[in-house]
């Protein structure tokens, strides 16, 4: 067995809003076995899905909700400064969007996985992180383009 120099455990911030975004986030976390995963989501009852993990709860926001967006942006910034993650992974929507926009200033490696619900085009929040995510993924092969998004499988 080869021991890779890059095998040290990383801290990964896994970020999503509610419903399907959270369900999809949990389905990609098995990729991070051996690393430390810290969650950021919007519904305190989701703690019951990951009882042994650290979970931050933030407010959700739409783009039309300026005050909510501002509050969310500050919450995300505070979490990033406190946790200093090596990588940020999000399945959308607003909380992950802010995490990726700010995460690059902390030199975290960032991944956007657009929700599988976006069958016809990338989501609006997905488009917003286009230039900022280090890895920008769609779950539909027919939406992939040479200049991005990349298709690398899906959440099931």
């Amino acid at each position: 067995m080869t021991i890779h120099a890059n095998a040290r455990p990383r801290k990964i911030l896994a970020v999503s809003s509610g419903g399907g975004h959270w369900v999809q986030l949990r389905r990609v976390v098995p990729a991070f076995t051996g690393h430390r995963v810290v969650y950021v989501t919007i519904d305190p009852t989701y703690r019951k899905d990951v009882p042994d993990e650290k979970v931050y709860i933030v407010n959700d926001a739409t783009r039309w909700d300026r005050w909510g967006s501002l509050r969310l942006a500050f919450s995300i910034l505070r979490i990033l400064i406190r946790e200093r993650p090596d990588a940020i992974v999000s399945t959308g929507a607003a909380p992950g969007c802010f995490a990726i926009l700010f995460g690059r200033f902390l030199r975290a490696r960032t991944v956007w996985i657009d929700s599988i619900a976006n069958v016809e085009s990338m989501s609006l929040s997905g488009m917003m992180v286009r230039r900022h995510a280090d890895l920008w993924l769609t779950q539909w092969a027919h939406l992939a383009r040479p200049e991005g998004p990349e298709h690398a499988g899906r959440v099931f």
Partner: protein, 169 residues
């Protein structure tokens, strides 16, 4: 028991009304619905507004089939538990969600044979018969993403090159 669920974000009274009328017509008393932030009062269907994730999962597990909006969380949960599911997409034009993305989702998943779907009341009634004809415990999908996606993410977070370099010896 038939489990009806519309998620927590918005009501979807059009679907609950369809289900309730179906239950009245068929004299059914085995329908349970999670209806979100709604004040709709059905004649026949038992309702509750919200469920936490473990309760949601347990209820779905105990059900024989699922009727739902075309939300990804619900669809993935049903596939994970091997439950037959009939989805009715929310429509942007009726302000049931902000756009018609659920219509596209429902059609794609239906084309892959993963869900039944209905966009009209007539199709819904036909869909209920088809749904109930399916076995309550079908094939399950694993509770994790595809190996391709997991592998891509696993390599990415530790900074390994992509595509992976061939191991030479």
């Amino acid at each position: 028991m038939i489990f009806v669920t519309v998620g927590a974000q918005m009501p979807f009274d059009r679907l609950i009304e369809w289900v309730d009328a179906w239950a009245v017509a068929g004299d059914r008393s085995d329908v349970m619905a999670q209806i979100g932030p709604s004040t709709f009062q059905p004649k026949r269907v038992r309702v509750l507004p919200f469920m936490d994730p473990p309760t949601f999962r347990r209820t779905m597990m105990e059900s024989s089939c699922v009727v739902a909006h075309a939300g990804m969380g619900t669809i993935l949960s049903a596939l994970e538990l091997g439950k037959p599911i009939l989805v009715v997409p929310r429509l942007g034009a009726l302000s049931e969600t902000r756009n018609d993305h659920q219509v596209a989702t429902a059609r794609r998943f239906r084309a892959e044979g993963l869900v039944l779907s209905a966009e009209t009341r007539e199709a819904f009634i036909a869909g209920m018969a088809e749904l109930e004809a399916q076995p309550p415990d079908g094939p399950r999908i694993p509770a994790r993403a595809s190996d391709a996606l997991l592998d891509r993410l696993r390599r990415f977070v530790v900074g390994e090159p992509w595509p992976p370099e061939r191991e030479s010896r």
